[in-house]
């Protein structure tokens, strides 16, 4: 009996050791990413913290809906950790109990900066909601494969909007619902937020570099390739955001000017993210580009300088694959 208990204790200790090693490895991998991008990890953590706090203060200063944006952003970030292949790999490595421990810990670590800021802002309900949702998200067991294909209006021009729409279509429903609410309560700002939410969502479609094969296979020069990507992005994002803009314009004709400006800003960011992506290609966007884009969020006219610069850089980066 004692020997069985000893064996169980030994197994538990080994599993605890594995969990500890897992988090040590994650820490090392994060530091390695910073080093690869040319930053001292300590400095990078400091810069990211400053950037996070700065952007948070700015966001809460600018809009009454910062709490919602915060929740959405935090949950989107956490959602990336629930990637099916990643979870499947963890399932192979750890027992069910340890897997839950790891997933809950990961989700809470990632939501910690958001939780702290929400508490600082005394938004206790939002903080509680984030805490609960982050925990639930870690415990939920999503099905790895769906036996049905989600319809997309962007099937003819794969891949960014085709796959992106399938991953985020519910956000568009939420945006349309928010627009309806904005009209019914006569809140123009909420409507603009709904429209920008559409653009912010489509920006995420261009955040990761695709496999080189999907660039190489194009029978285009870098310039034409980039312009093609930009054209599709503007066309498809507009087709989703346009109904919101039109509805807002009909009910707020006095604000058509500011509405058009926000629409243009949405387009500019979309172009900005595409050229940023290919300026680093085939690597993922680095911290420098992230900071530059963050600077543009703070002061959008920066994009006027940044876009041509990154476009040129993208052409150079793509020239080895596109001839």
């Amino acid at each position: 009996m004692a020997s069985i208990r000893d064996n169980q204790n030994l197994r538990t200790t080994k599993q605890d050791e594995k969990v500890k090693k897992y988090f040590e490895l994650q820490y090392k991998m994060t530091n390695r990413k910073f080093k690869d991008a040319g930053f001292n990890p300590l400095l990078a953590y400091l810069m990211l913290t400053t950037l996070f706090v700065g952007l948070s203060i700015y966001l809460f200063h600018k809009t009454d809906f910062a709490g919602y944006i915060y929740l959405l952003f935090a949950l989107t970030l956490i959602g990336n950790l629930s990637e099916t292949r990643r979870t499947a790999f963890l399932k192979i490595c750890f027992s069910d109990k340890k897997l839950k421990k790891i997933r809950v810990s990961e989700n809470l670590i990632c939501s910690l900066p958001f939780l702290i800021f929400l508490l600082y802002k005394q938004l206790f309900l939002s903080a509680l909601l984030l805490f609960v949702l982050a925990t639930i998200l870690a415990l939920l067991n999503f099905r790895t494969t769906l036996n049905f294909t989600i319809w997309t209006p962007f099937s003819k021009r794969p891949f960014e909007f085709t796959t992106g729409f399938r991953n985020t279509f519910y956000i568009f429903f939420a945006s349309y619902t928010l627009t309806a609410i904005a009209i019914s309560v006569n809140n123009f700002n909420l409507g603009v937020f709904a429209m920008l939410l559409v653009f912010a969502t489509t920006l995420s479609y261009y955040s990761k570099p695709e496999n080189e094969y999907y660039v190489w296979t194009h029978n285009l020069k870098p310039n034409a390739f980039l312009l093609g990507k930009i054209k599709i992005a503007l066309l498809f994002s507009s087709s989703i955001a346009f109904p919101i803009a039109i509805t807002l314009a009909i009910f707020n004709p006095q604000n058509i000017g500011i509405l058009s400006l926000f629409f243009l800003v949405g387009w500019a960011f979309l172009i900005g993210i595409i050229v940023s992506k290919y300026a680093a290609y085939p690597n993922a966007m680095n911290i420098t580009q992230g900071i530059l884009l963050a600077l543009c969020v703070w002061f959008p006219p920066t994009l006027i300088v940044l876009i041509p610069y990154l476009f040129k850089k993208s052409e150079n980066r793509l020239s080895s694959l596109l001839k």
Binding site: T149, P158, W216, H218, L321
Partner: protein
């Protein structure tokens, strides 16, 4: 024609390809064989212009990459993209319009399902279908028969015969000798980064015997099976 002249490829200090010289002509099928890690895939990537290299690779029509259908050993697929959309993506990339993709689905693939849910063989058949529909002049097929069922292997063999009739250049690597002897006009043996033997169809059986002797040697005896 594709002409490879004095091709060298290094990864750091590791020289993977050493002075490769070979010509590929229209209407011919070429087999490239060699043990794992001898540089077959690197050679293909150099020809496809996916790698920097020393030496010269020329082709007519040029540039080679815009006329090349490249079937990778393990094709990569995006999550949540259907088989039909994958074909559409590759055809769009070459500005080819195929109005009836379903009619061209000769492997009976479930084109409306996500390609990432396909089996290894189905993925290979989908990738092959897509590069065939791109209307390429050159084809590099890196292990096209791997993981594919017998029925589809028969179809792939017939496709290669058809490509030869259509005057295309086809370069294949395979670890199954019979698949090469059924399809190729020439087989080139790659070892430690350079070609050590080139054999015409009439002498394939000699190459197979030599390869067996070279590869097996007395290795089986070393196991000491009783």
């Amino acid at each position: 024609m594709i002409a490879v002249k004095n091709l060298f490829k290094k990864y750091g200090t590791n020289e993977v390809l050493k002075n490769i010289n070979i010509e590929f002509h229209k209407g011919k099928v070429y087999g490239i064989v060699g043990e794992n890690g001898t540089g077959k895939t690197t050679l293909f990537r150099c020809i496809a212009d996916l790698e920097d290299y020393e030496g010269k690779i020329s082709s007519n029509p040029n540039p080679i990459k815009n006329h090349l259908g490249l079937l990778l050993t393990e094709p990569f697929f995006f999550q949540k993209i259907t088989g039909k959309e994958y074909i559409q993506l590759l055809c769009n990339a070459r500005n080819i319009k195929i109005p009836d993709i379903e009619d061209r689905n000769i492997f009976d693939l479930p084109l409306s399902q996500y390609a990432s849910t396909y089996s290894t063989g189905m993925k290979k058949k989908l990738a092959l279908t897509a590069i065939l529909l791109q209307g390429n002049d050159y084809f590099i097929l890196d292990e096209p028969f791997n993981g594919v069922d017998i029925q589809s292997n028969i179809i792939i063999t017939e496709i290669i015969h058809k490509l030869k009739v259509l005057d295309k250049i086809v370069i294949i690597s395979s670890h199954i000798f019979s698949t090469l002897s059924d399809t190729c006009d020439e087989i080139h043996l790659l070892s430690s980064g350079h070609f050590i033997k080139s054999v015409q169809k009439a002498n394939f059986h000699v190459l197979e015997t030599e390869m067996k002797q070279m590869t097996i040697g007395n290795k089986i005896e070393k196991l000491g099976l009783t």
